[in-house]
């Protein structure tokens, strides 16, 4: 904590779930509120929500296949520079791609069959160094109270944005040790105050058990490193969470960065970005982020169709990641001077009235 405060830019508001902003949000009626949703015909929506195992079975086979192949070849070539490109790809598949598998399977929408969602969710949680029990609850809160200060545990772009921490996190330098420490704490039977805020009592023993399984795997990996006198086992298990996460941040930070806080309308606090097929494979279509938040029951492979169905009611999507970042970078630098500054997406004529919420800040 001491080290972290050295690289933390002071903030006007507390983003803690147990601080004063949390009470303020509850009092203002921002917690567990009704959110705007773009109108969509129930029959159309029902069609979009239909589950299927096939797209996710194909994508999972490719993902796990590539993960094993690149990891295996990288290990064989260990010691030569030829291993480098394989580890770069392995790292991205291990961390960046696992995040979206974790996410989609956590919602239970990737596969139609429940045990498949659960199995991939557990694997992806491990790869992401996340306690699968704790994070299920954290993500539920992110959906209830998206970018509501003091309520949402998954706000990555605070105001002013923590640029040093964000920069270091492109290689997991702050987030991965934090995640590791959190699991370690869970394995000892403890939850942080924030975790205790959203994980119900009845789920805590399971959270502890999961943490112990994760810790055991890391312990075996560490022993393997010592036994072989090589860092290679850790390059395959654990360290990719650091060296392979960068692509997730490139794709995922723009989900909400620079946009409004404390509104009740995902069109104002989330961003949809067009991406190419390769990135969409890694990201499981989470680039359709406004749509995902409005209708989390639509599986990833139908999000492009959902986008078509609601796009006339939403601000125009960013045409590329490049365009999104060109909008974000000047905004976050301005926020260093003026934390109240944020981007106001322009809704098209005829779109539903924006739901600014009781704070009304975004309406100014």
């Amino acid at each position: 904590m001491g080290l972290l405060s050295l690289i933390t830019i002071p903030m006007e508001r507390s983003y803690s779930l147990t601080g004063p902003e949390s009470e303020r949000a509850v009092e203002a009626g921002l917690a567990n509120a009704d959110w705007y949703r773009s109108p969509i015909d129930r029959k159309v929506l029902k069609g979009l929500m239909k589950r299927s195992d096939n797209p996710a079975m194909r994508d999972t086979a490719i993902w796990l296949g590539l993960l094993l192949a690149t990891g295996g070849i990288g290990a064989l070539l260990w010691g030569s520079w030829w291993a480098l490109p394989f580890f770069i790809v392995y790292g991205v598949l291990y961390a960046s791609a696992a995040d979206s598998r974790w996410h989609e399977c956590g919602h239970g929408t990737a596969f139609r069959t429940r045990w498949m969602n659960d199995a991939i969710y557990e694997i992806a949680s491990f790869l992401m160094m996340r306690n699968s029990v704790v994070w299920r609850w954290s993500h539920a809160r992110h959906h209830t109270d998206t970018i509501i200060v003091g309520r949402d545990p998954e706000i990555s772009g605070m105001r002013p944005p923590q640029l040093i921490i964000i920069g270091l996190n492109f290689f997991g330098i702050v987030a991965a040790p934090q995640s590791f420490a959190a699991i370690f704490r869970n394995a000892l039977g403890m939850l942080s105050a924030d975790e205790a805020d959203f994980v119900p009592e009845s789920e805590r023993p399971r959270a502890v058990r999961v943490a112990r399984v994760h810790m055991s795997i890391y312990a075996v990996t560490l022993l393997a490193c010592i036994a072989f006198g090589s860092i290679l086992p850790a390059m395959l298990i654990g360290l990719p969470r650091l060296y392979g996460i960068w692509l997730l941040l490139v794709m995922g930070l723009p989900q909400h960065l620079g946009l409004a806080e404390d509104v009740l309308d995902h069109r104002l606090n989330s961003r949809t970005i067009y991406m190419n097929r390769l990135l969409r494979f890694v990201y499981m279509n989470m680039n359709y982020h406004v749509e995902h938040h409005m209708y989390p029951m639509v599986p990833y492979h139908r999000l492009p169709d959902l986008h078509e169905a609601v796009k006339d009611d939403c601000a125009p999507a960013s045409t590329s990641l490049w365009q999104a970042w060109r909008e974000i970078i000047p905004c976050v630098f301005r926020q260093l001077r003026d934390p109240r500054h944020f981007i106001r997406p322009e809704l098209p004529p005829g779109a539903g009235a924006p739901s600014y919420g009781p704070m009304g800040q975004a309406a100014e």
Partner: protein, 103 residues
């Protein structure tokens, strides 16, 4: 418990549900194939969101907010983020109408 004429069977598509408000409370009436119907409480036990916009699939209703799942036959909560079961109520079809027994 009194039996109430809630709606026409055709008001509900197959594998779908309908919100039904009665007295102070709100319920969900489900129709599976043909004349198979069920009735549960209407609000998800996680954050009290109405299940009316949820998805019905293989005797399971999925909550529209966080995808919490319940077995509509028993009301059983099938895992995080739902931990508390839904109440269930007897439902049947007669002459194209759905009757439910509500408290």
């Amino acid at each position: 418990m009194p039996e109430i004429d809630a709606c026409a069977l055709d008001d509900i598509d197959e594998e779908d549900l309908l919100r039904f408000d009665h007295g102070e409370r709100t319920y969900a009436i489900y129709r599976m194939e043909g004349e198979e119907v069920f009735c549960t409480d209407g609000l998800c036990t996680h954050e009290q969101v109405h299940l009316e916009d949820g998805l019905v699939m293989d005797y399971i209703v999925e909550c529209p907010r966080h995808n919490g799942r319940f077995d509509i036959r028993t009301g059983e909560a099938l895992g995080a983020p739902v931990c508390v079961n839904l109440g269930t109520y007897p439902a049947r079809v007669e002459s194209g109408r759905v009757f439910v027994e509500l408290p």
